[in-house]
């Protein structure tokens, strides 16, 4: 009697719990929004092609689900896009899980690494087989040799994001030009003159830290300065010291190259004279911006946009005369004038197609349309007459739409977000005409200056690494960690002077012994395979 009672009470509990669970589950199935939509879609007679597209949702430009451009695409191509906007901050995790469980949506934004790692598994559609369906794309990539670095075994597995027109951005020497005038100094033209100017700043303003150094640690600072000063490595946001040296026409490991010693010696000289921020190695973006826009730091080598968008407006409130502007171009001690700008296209933001799509040809045709003139206009400007108009053959966003967003902190991103257009949504052929239209004159001047220097050959695009085989990648991972660790552990000691520059050669040998030759060989072999 008692035992049955015990059992019964136990059973009751289990039953209750499972009832709750089952109830919840079946509920869940009924209210699943995707299924609902599928059912509705099936009833329609026109049968638009439905494509789900997972992409990054950048908080600067939130992705909305119902935007003019989605309606325009439906009208022009009969494709109904369903955007799965995944927060940028967690995109990698979500993407890895979907790829690992073979559950990717029809279209998926991937980077070069994903293409190299997963293309051979067959999860992505081999686009090369369908390229005859993509005349616009073929036309768009003409003359852009870098796209070959995306190929796996000679096949294309993802559509890269290409640049149609862009407001140029590059890391450049940015200086408080108003102080040059005030102190009656000549604008520096060489790195040696830059040193003299910074020294003069320090003498005139002993409280200041003339050069802020970096906002992302030592290697970022070295990456900005090394190439212009005749060496290279760690350029832009790259984590490795490898770079393409045009002088020798091959890949070189920067820190062990001949000229690198002079770069470090130069920074050491700045440091020992109190011209380089003693906190350069630990500055965060906030700290660096704070120093520059409060007038404590007077020089930095960073993206030109920062001067226009961040430092100048903030410092103008406390000092109306203050102004950061690009100086130079600076000549290095070998008589060269050179610097880098960011990659031309966004090969790292490519769109792969799931190999499970029912009608691959139609999907490729749709992707190709994004590279056509109509597709480019729709994905960058929206609907003609409703959101933009053509003037002198150039598209312009309607003034009333710009006016709607004029109170926003960032008019450009807010407008792009409402319309659902531009790089941060799903434009594959990016036209930044709107940005040029609404930007400060200074930014446009800088952009034209950068473009001019690019044409002259003074500024070169940062390249991306050639594709490696799996075996090579593994060797590289191991060797690069070894070498970079040795470098990072010691380079600050040279800059801060706790290790003498006379020891540099021994230090260089130590890096060489850790496998620099092997790394360089792998890069150059991979390059020659292209």
């Amino acid at each position: 009697m008692l035992k049955t009672k015990k059992l019964a009470s136990g059973l009751m509990c289990t039953l209750l719990a499972s009832m709750l669970l089952i109830g919840a589950c079946s509920n869940g199935n009924n209210s699943s929004p995707t299924e609902k939509k599928d059912a509705e879609g099936g009833k329609q007679s026109s049968q638009p092609l439905k494509l789900s597209w997972m992409l990054e949702d950048n908080p600067n430009q939130p992705i909305l689900s119902d935007t003019p451009v989605i309606r325009e695409i439906l009208g022009q191509t009969n494709v109904q896009l369903q955007l799965e906007a995944v927060p940028t901050s967690s995109y990698e995790e979500r993407k890895s899980a979907l790829i690992a469980t073979n559950n990717i949506p029809d279209l998926l934004t991937v980077d070069l690494n994903d293409i190299q790692m997963f293309a051979r598994t067959g999860i992505f559609l081999n686009i090369s087989d369908y390229l005859d369906q993509a005349p616009n794309f073929k036309k768009a990539i003409e003359g852009r040799e870098d796209y070959k670095k995306m190929l796996v075994d000679g096949k294309l597995y993802a559509f890269p994001t290409l640049e149609y027109y862009r407001v140029a951005v590059a890391p450049q020497p940015l200086m408080r030009v108003d102080l040059l005038e005030e102190l009656k100094l000549e604008e520096p033209r060489t790195f040696d003159e830059l040193f003299d100017v910074l020294l003069a700043f320090k003498e005139a303003y002993p409280e200041s830290i003339p050069f802020v150094g970096s906002r992302r640690g030592t290697t970022y600072m070295l990456g900005q300065l090394a190439y212009p000063m005749g060496a290279g490595g760690f350029e832009g946001f790259s984590e490795t010291g490898m770079y393409f040296e045009p002088r020798e026409n091959k890949y070189v490991f920067g820190p062990t190259s001949e000229n690198y010693k002079d770069v470090v010696a130069y920074l050491n000289k700045l440091y020992s004279h109190g011209l380089l921020d003693p906190d350069y190695a630990v500055n965060t973006q906030e700290m660096a911006v704070e120093k520059l826009s409060s007038g404590r730091s007077l020089f930095t080598y960073d993206n030109n946009t920062h001067a226009v968008r961040l430092f100048n407006p903030a410092i103008a409130e406390i000092n109306p005369k203050a102004k950061f502007d690009i100086i130079g171009p600076l000549q290095n001690q070998y008589g060269e004038t050179r610097s880098l700008r960011y990659e031309q296209d966004w090969l790292g933001t490519s769109t792969a197609i799931s190999s499970k799509v029912k009608d691959p040809e139609a999907v490729v045709r749709f992707m190709d349309w994004l590279y056509s003139e109509e597709g480019m206009l729709a994905t960058n400007f929206g609907i003609e007459g409703e959101t933009y108009e053509m003037r002198d053959g150039q598209p312009y966003i309607l003034q009333k739409i710009l006016d709607d967003h004029k109170d926003q902190q960032d008019v450009f991103s807010a407008t792009q977000s409402t319309l659902g257009v531009g790089y941060l949504t799903f434009a594959k052929y990016v036209h930044e005409g709107t940005l040029a239209d609404i930007s400060e004159d200074l930014l446009i001047e800088m952009s034209e200056y950068i473009d001019r220097l690019t044409e002259e050959g003074t500024i070169r695009f940062m390249g991306i690494d050639p594709p490696f085989t799996e075996e090579e990648s593994e060797t590289l991972r191991k060797l690069e960690v070894q070498v970079t660790t040795i470098f990072e552990q010691n380079v600050d000691r040279f800059i801060m002077g706790t290790r003498q520059m006379s020891e540099w050669d021994a230090f260089r040998q130590q890096m060489m012994d850790a496998g620099v030759d092997k790394i360089e060989k792998i890069y150059n072999d991979a390059l020659s395979r292209l």
């Binding site: 869940g28 949702d57 908080p59 939130p62 940028t88 899980a97 906030e286 960011y342």
Partner: protein
């Protein structure tokens, strides 16, 4: 002698007071700082002028944050997930803890071991995704609230609490003719208000802060909870936007004041709820039962 003792005591009290005030400041200042930055002018924040008082304060950031449709919608979602999730959690946890607390439950230790096993071993995210996908829960709210229905550790806390209820209470209830269900609802639950309140708060905070299941199992932005949106605003401005190099080069960096306003909007409801539940933590265990 006596006077000395009083003096020493006073000195100790004063030192103690000073120490505790300092401790309070170290805890409260970051929150206060976040608040004054969030109401200050963006350029002043960039210059690092905000120390003790806000500079040209205004509610503009909060207006901007609360006008954002994504944030409002996600707020609603978080509310839904938190209430539904916590309800399921507390119900199932209590149902699970009760039999495991009873000595007469058949196979008690076997079930306990089975359940505790999951505390230490789990399949990881990929099998979990496959299971949830196979159950058809992807892109529904149930993918968020069902998989974490019982947190084993909280269940154990509750079981331990139930176990401390004296066996005599059950005996007297049986004699009065109550069955196990009736005992559970009429006697055990009312006696367990402190532990239930505590566990409810734990679950509440957990759901409120959770973003990972939503990230993995939801496809549509309209279903995202608050934390996912906030995380993106706060973190992406720092890391991702810079990593995707050339990408965001032209986009503005989200201002610190906006970030902090979002954080405050996110934590405010929990801050408000906390004091009301907190009293149960302090309350004694057996409030008003079996005296003497």
């Amino acid at each position: 002698m006596n006077l000395k003792g009083i003096k020493a005591g006073k000195i100790f009290d004063a030192a103690n007071m000073l120490f505790l005030i300092a401790l309070c400041i170290t805890i409260l200042y970051p929150i206060y700082h976040m608040f004054i930055v969030s109401v200050s002018d963006g350029h002043a924040v960039l210059r690092g002028d905000i120390k003790l008082w806000p500079v040209s304060p205004s509610w503009d950031t909060y207006k901007a944050v609360l006008k954002d449709p994504d944030i409002l919608n996600s707020y609603k979602n978080t509310f839904l997930y938190t209430t539904t999730g916590t309800l399921i959690n507390v119900t199932l946890t209590a149902f699970c803890a009760y039999p495991l607390a009873r000595k007469k439950f058949y196979g008690r230790s076997f079930f306990a071991v089975l359940i505790i096993f999951t505390m230490f071993f789990e399949g990881g995210i990929i099998p979990e995704y496959i299971v949830i996908d196979a159950l058809g829960l992807i892109n529904t709210m149930w993918a968020i609230v069902l998989p974490p229905a019982i947190h084993v550790f909280y269940m154990i806390i509750m079981r331990t609490f139930f176990q401390q209820i004296p066996e005599e209470i059950y005996e007297s209830a049986y004699i009065d003719g109550a069955n196990d269900l009736r005992i559970f609802f009429r006697i055990i639950l009312p006696l367990s208000v402190p532990v239930i309140a505590t566990i409810t708060l734990f679950y509440l905070v957990w759901h409120w802060n959770s973003f990972f299941p939503a990230l993995m199992y939801l496809n549509e932005k309209s279903q995202y909870p608050m934390q996912l949106i906030m995380r993106n605003i706060v973190i992406a401005g720092n890391v991702a936007a810079q990593e995707s190099a050339a990408a965001s080069m032209n986009a503005m960096i989200t201002g610190q004041n906006i970030k902090y306003a979002v954080i405050i909007v996110t934590i405010a409801p929990i801050l408000v709820v906390y004091p009301f539940i907190q009293k149960y933590f302090v309350k004694g265990m057996m409030v008003g039962s079996l005296k003497g």
